[in-house]
Symmetry: C2
């Protein structure tokens, strides 16, 4: 134990991505690991921090700060209390460090880039298998990262 | 600890599927869990046990038996000593139970069926991203199970 792995979780606050957080906490992370909650915002979004960080993605935001700053105003993100609570509990009971990062652009590319930039040992994403149209439009995110990310990828259903 | 999960691993003795075993042992399984090593043989293969078990898949074969019986003759499988050694060590040091099962048919369908039949909590498969032709022909196995299997699926690279 204590291998200090870094586990990325793709987060868009959909039910599937919440399942991804739950699965990662229940099955994968252990004491000493670090969770990076990865958000990818549309490149069309227009928020103050985007101008500063669009090229590189935001700095890593510690969970404590993530819970307090006005994310909606700065980044256009509305964190789900349930997700924050799950992460809060994990950071306390499992002694994992939780940070968050925000990218702008295509979720498929940005998630794959994040694997390399953040040197992720594992990436966990939700599957978006709900409905034929959603699957065609969005299901490809999980299939893309499974094929292209340079680390093991776990796809979790709702 | 002690959640008694069942973790399936797709196994064809390719480098990628060996990486899948390594990842599962190093990152996912813990004391009390059960590993099911899942083999899917071609429906064209012609071995004595196939006639008996083609419809349902073979019975679950404990690791000890799997190491000893003439698998090549009975099932057309040539287990890799490296994989057997990894599993042997895991069964001793992590106290996980290791069993094996053989199916005949389309790996995509059989792996998804196995998730339901064996009530898998997780499925781990190798990615076959080597070379464009292989990817087109075989990469779809991991993409298919990611999309269709009813449990979380982890895809591991070599």
């Amino acid at each position: 134990m204590g291998r200090n792995r870094t586990v990325g979780i793709g987060m868009d606050y959909s039910p599937m991505s919440k399942s991804a957080v739950r699965w990662a906490i229940d099955n994968l992370v252990e004491e000493g690991d670090r969770i990076v909650l990865i958000h990818v915002q549309s490149s069309k979004s227009d928020h103050p921090q985007k101008k500063l960080w669009e090229a590189t993605g935001s700095p890593l935001i510690p969970l404590e700060e993530f819970k307090e700053i006005n994310l909606s105003k700065l980044y256009g993100i509305n964190p789900d209390p349930e997700v924050l609570s799950l992460l809060d509990t994990a950071s306390k009971t499992k002694k994992v460090k939780v940070v968050s990062k925000i990218y702008w652009g295509d979720p498929r590319e940005k998630l794959c880039n994040a694997v390399d930039e953040l040197k992720l040992d594992s990436l966990v994403v939700g599957s978006r298998g709900l409905g034929a149209i959603k699957r065609v439009l969005l299901g490809s995110v999980s299939n893309y990262v499974v094929t292209n990310a340079s680390c093991p990828v776990t796809v979790v259903k709702g």
